[in-house]
Symmetry: C2
Subunit: 322 residues, 2 copies
């Protein structure tokens, strides 16, 4: 089955359009996970370290090197999040940057997290914003896209500055591997407008030029559900543009960042959905991963962080359903 | 010392502006390296495999799985290239896509190659075309940039579609870590014009808008050599635009792809250099890595592939010097 039909089926089965971002940020991960990873490390190495429990700076003083446990901490944290959200959402989005930040050990952790999410029945949209030309783009695509590939992602975000011949290898591999591609079109950050909002001499803005290209590729790769295997990243933070792009790109599935921490709400993403409730997944990373650190769920406290993640996930599912 | 001053000093010391791309493509790597890696694998595992020497498809039939030896083959091949070119060129550019293609084992190989190049006294410009927003961009930057970072690159290529607030975290980290950033401005591929060549209502083309931004950041990060630690990727395949961008971006060091296989020549990149011979490095990947497979050096044959790499490197250094 094509990626987009798998995605549509998963959204219908779970009754949810929530995409849970996996953004492991070491400094915010619960202390209990760090202690457990450290214990494993100590057990493994046979060394006993003098662990202090609160400040990362204190830890460094105590001869503690974050880099030794961070990959394990990332795995354990992401696996916990996956366990909590898997019954409620169709897909997760690991952010490659946080894993790559740790060096090659971080990439081994990413590998584990992707496989674990798949094993839990979730679709995995890898957020890598990869881009290159020709056979180099094909190398990324073949490495990352599809169940049989080394990384095994169901879909990948890609960046369009290099133009159509840089996107085609991703699209071709995606179609061959029953995988998907989400092209950056109108992003959620304030600075996105610097290039994306520029108006060209034919009257279209850059994000409309890219949007039209993506829609044409969506049409060429359309599945049973009416959407194509080439989707678009369109931020929740610009609801007017989002609504206009929906009109302009009727066959394009949207991946919508910017919900929650960045300011987007259920109201601001409403226009992205068709009458069946299909057509978009809305990402939330920080607001779910670190729910107990947000105003709305702070009463749970760090000890009950898993309950906070669960509550935030269910609440977002409900908010998007109404 | 800032990255750009290290680069300028290395160019002057070696008397060369050649940037050797490290693009390990399994199917083109000499058979001798594959056999040696396979032998190591066999010695290690204690298994004896029935190796056939020519066709990869035959190998699969013989129960041989490329993925088991590819990371070792990539390491061995890149180390050989580095050994050959190190006396003659200031820097190398590993292409992350080829390593990432192999999964996390490929990233371990990349780690080794970066470190080996550094140990050989070369500056390492990592070609990742990374891009993201805010703290996520900062995660890439902190992971990849600077001698003390997990990956340890001296510089990184980045893609600008997400705008200024996506580039600033890379620039900030680069400056803090004595590292550099090369922003895609006008790329070498035919499709690059799809977005980059569009004319905006203020009369500038998109690549000029990005070029102006990069020049402003180059000025803000200018080193002793007169160029900034924020550079630009400008293709050799569009010499007219390259010459215009040089006028427009007097403090911006250019990383120039598209030489050789893509059609660029010493003549087409001449305009990038100042009267001291500084201001640009010109990349060649395939034409050096796989020189014996090109018309000019095919007489060496696969057996003398190292001699072909050496000849191609020296010839390119000379061509750029004149």
């Amino acid at each position: 089955m094509s990626f987009i039909d798998k995605l549509a089926a998963a959204v219908e089965k779970k009754g949810s359009s929530v995409l849970v971002g996996l953004d492991p940020r070491f400094e915010w991960i619960p202390e209990s996970i760090k202690q457990s990873s450290l214990k494993d490390l100590n057990d493994f190495s046979g060394q006993l370290m003098n662990l202090r429990t609160h400040e990362d700076t204190d830890r460094k003083d105590a001869g503690f090197d974050i880099s030794e446990i961070a990959p394990t901490v990332f795995c354990d944290f992401c696996r916990d999040i996956i366990d909590i959200v898997a019954p409620y959402v169709p897909c997760v989005k690991p952010q490659m940057a946080f894993f790559e930040q740790l060096g090659s050990d971080g990439m081994v952790a990413l590998d584990d997290v992707i496989q674990y999410a798949r094993d839990c029945g979730l679709l995995v949209i890898l957020d890598g914003k990869r881009n290159d030309i020709g056979t180099t783009a094909a190398a990324y695509a073949k490495g990352l896209l599809g169940e049989e590939s080394p990384w095994g992602a169901d879909a990948l975000t890609v960046s369009p500055y290099l133009g159509d011949d840089s996107l085609d290898p991703f699209i071709q591999t995606a179609v061959e591997q029953d995988a998907g591609v989400f092209v950056l079109v109108k992003t959620s950050n304030p600075g996105g407008g610097m290039i994306q909002n520029l108006e060209t001499t034919d009257g279209r803005k850059i994000y409309e030029v890219v949007g039209d290209f993506v829609q044409s590729k969506a049409l060429q790769t359309v599945g049973q559900c009416g959407y194509g295997n080439v989707g678009a990243v369109v931020g929740a933070t610009y609801p007017k543009e989002l609504a206009e792009l929906r009109q302009r790109m009727p066959n394009t599935w949207f991946l919508i960042p910017g919900f929650g921490a960045q300011g987007g709400s259920a109201e601001s993403v409403k226009a992205a959905f068709d009458e069946k409730g299909l057509g978009a997944v809305v990402n939330n990373s920080r607001g779910i991963n670190f729910a107990w650190r947000t105003k709305a769920y702070e009463s749970f406290g760090e000890e009950k962080w898993k309950d906070a993640v669960l509550a935030a996930t269910k609440d977002m599912c409900n908010a998007l359903r109404n």
